[in-house]
Amino acid sequence: MSGATEVTDPRSSPLSLAAARRLFRDRPFIPLLILLGFLILINEIASPGIVSAEWVSVMLRAAVPLAILAGCQTLTMLTGGIDLSVSAVASMSGFLVATLVTGPGVPAGIVIALAAAALAGLVTGIGVGVFRVHPLIMTLGMSLVVLGLANAWQLQMVQTNAGVPPALRAVGSQVVFGVLPYSLAVFIPLAVVILIALRRTGYGRLLFAIGDNPIAARLAGARSWQILIVLYVISALMAGIAGFLYSGYTNVASVSLVDSQLLPSVAAAVIGGTSILGGRGGYGGTIVGALILTVIGSLLSSLGYPEAVRQVLFGAIIVAVAAAYTRVTDES
């Protein structure tokens, strides 16, 4: 929103400092991994013995759904957008499945919930792509619509004894070999598809293109409205999947379950090196960003601070990391 003065061209500067900056810019993965290792080390120093197989599995279980939600933000931010409806869509999907257990059953419930999520994404995509509504407003409005409808559905469903189906609970919260959560079986294929799609497919490059320079992309023949509609449907489907994992992880089905994760999802993408202005970033950094946020959360709670102090520190750390990052990557 305020980046009109950001004019950078890393290729024109031959300095080695610029090369280092380019590394940060194009491969944020490596410095972020170092930061993650550093944070884990602090965690271990702060409370010796905390870093164990069990701790790792707890971290992974919390980070996986956050990484998926942050994936929604990464993809939309690449086009210069943002998706503020992910939390509403995710909560709605998890809740819908829980209420459909006794009726149509779990598999049908999942299909219905994903269809509902896709419908919300389709409407958002049409608004953003065809009617050119600002993504912030469109997804904000859509989150109000989804939340309201989910609440109305909740009133209809008061009588039925809804509960998170055991299958989702298993996927969301159980682990194999004491370390690896089942949710990785959902996440790893998804992450691989996103990583490959962004780097190697035409669609992925088009996302970068319309975020970097929408006019140039249009003149080059990209039909941005089609790209955006597909993008927001994908984002809503991913939010739906994250919603299943959250309800399985917490064993709660509520229409506001995922609300608290909206801001961290944006923060994870930003820390991961995706520019909110579009055209720059990737999913690898976002995954590490989600891990970093989860580890920071664990660190703050293991230090025994009350919730209020944790919130303050959490916000301050996000600003600090984002500031350091911008400082390193911006040559302006």
Binding site: S2, S143, N151, L313
Partner: protein, 349 residues
């Protein structure tokens, strides 16, 4: 909005010549005003008993969100956005409630002034962080919303505190006859009961803070950096300082909104309400462009009243309040879609 199409007659009185541009410039606000009038008529139609009490309730209930929308409008006009307004309101709300608990009435004045200064300081902190770190404002204010909400919880763990009585009186009820006479004159004092005190407070606050600023050099600079920061910079505007000023003003309005929460509830609540997102909605509904540099205060405040009145109407019609949320969302999307369609048309023509 149809004013743009009317062909200008060759010879018209000079006074009429000025009406056209004014109407055209404020087309969006006038449209909202018509919408509000229609809604009020509709409300009276479905609920014939809707009258003085209803209008007063409306005036009091819209005050916090109207001030939040004013706060958001300042920042959006200057080309930014602030997602920490709800948290700022919670923080100023609890600080005011803690300061005024079991204190003499006069101390309330000191507390209110202190809270307003605090608001300016907190807002300016947001602005300074945006300027210094060069991180996009969405990210900074999003993160700062955690910080301010955390401080609110530190100040007051659970809802509590108190408020000076005069502050409570300031926003509830309407002018009594005696109070109204010096303001609007004896003959018109009947109207007094129709004017909620909260609305008077809102109008006075906005008039005192915004109107002089809007006409000053700084106000122009505010619009300039929102419209085109580079051009503003080259015209000699200090972009960074103006941005901090915008955020400081945002903090002032957010503190006023927080105080209005203290005044309308009598206590402090450390948990942010839904004000951040609703303020963005109201600002957009009020015709302020998210791209910056366009819009005013009047539209967003009208937008808040309209959103609230729709909610009231749906209660009268016995419709589930959850569906009211849906309708608010649909109106938000619909209005913006219509707005951008008009723009697309203009761009093509």
């Amino acid at each position: 909005m149809s004013a743009a199409a009317t062909p200008v007659a060759a010879r018209r009185p000079a006074a009429l010549d000025q009406v056209g541009p004014i109407v055209r410039r404020n087309a969006w606000s006038l449209g909202l005003l018509v919408l509000l009038a229609v809604l009020l008529g509709f409300t009276k139609f479905i609920q014939p008993t809707y009258g003085v009490a209803g209008v007063q309730g409306l005036g009091t209930s819209v005050l916090p969100l109207a001030l939040a929308a004013a706060a958001q409008a300042v920042v959006v006009i200057s080309g930014g956005i602030d997602l920490s307004i709800g948290a700022l309101m919670a923080l100023t709300n609890v600080v005011a409630a803690v300061l005024m608990k079991d204190q003499p009435e006069q101390f309330g004045v000191v507390a209110v002034i202190g809270v307003l200064l605090l608001g300016v300081l907190l807002g300016a902190t947001n602005g300074a962080l945006v300027v210094v770190t060069r991180v996009p404002d969405i990210v900074v204010t999003l993160a700062m919303s955690f910080v301010w909400a955390g401080f609110a919880l530190l100040v007051l763990g659970t809802p509590g505190g108190g408020s000076a009585k005069w502050l409570l009186d300031l926003v509830t009820g309407a002018f009594s006859h005696d109070e109204a006479i010096p303001v609007i004159g004896g003959a018109l004092s009947v109207i007094g009961e129709w004017i909620p005190k909260a609305t008077v407070v809102l109008i006075v606050v906005v008039a005192v803070i915004w109107v002089p600023l809007r006409r000053s050099r700084q106000g122009l600079a505010l619009y300039a950096i929102g419209s085109n920061p580079l051009a503003a910079f080259r015209s000699g505007v200090s972009v960074g300082r103006t941005k901090i000023l915008a955020y400081g003003l945002m903090g002032l309005f957010a503190a006023l909104a927080g105080l209005s929460l203290t005044a309308s509830t009598g206590i402090g609540t450390p948990v942010p309400g839904p004000y951040t997102l609703l303020s963005v909605a109201a600002v957009v509904l009020g015709g302020v462009s998210l791209a910056g540099g366009r819009g005013g205060m009047f539209g967003p405040i009208l937008g808040v009243v309209i959103l609230q009145l729709i909610r009231t109407d749906m209660t009268f019609l016995d419709i589930d309040t959850n569906l009211a949320t849906v309708v608010q969302g649909l109106i938000l999307i619909g209005v913006v879609m219509v707005g951008s369609l008009i723009q697309l048309r203009r761009a093509r023509a």
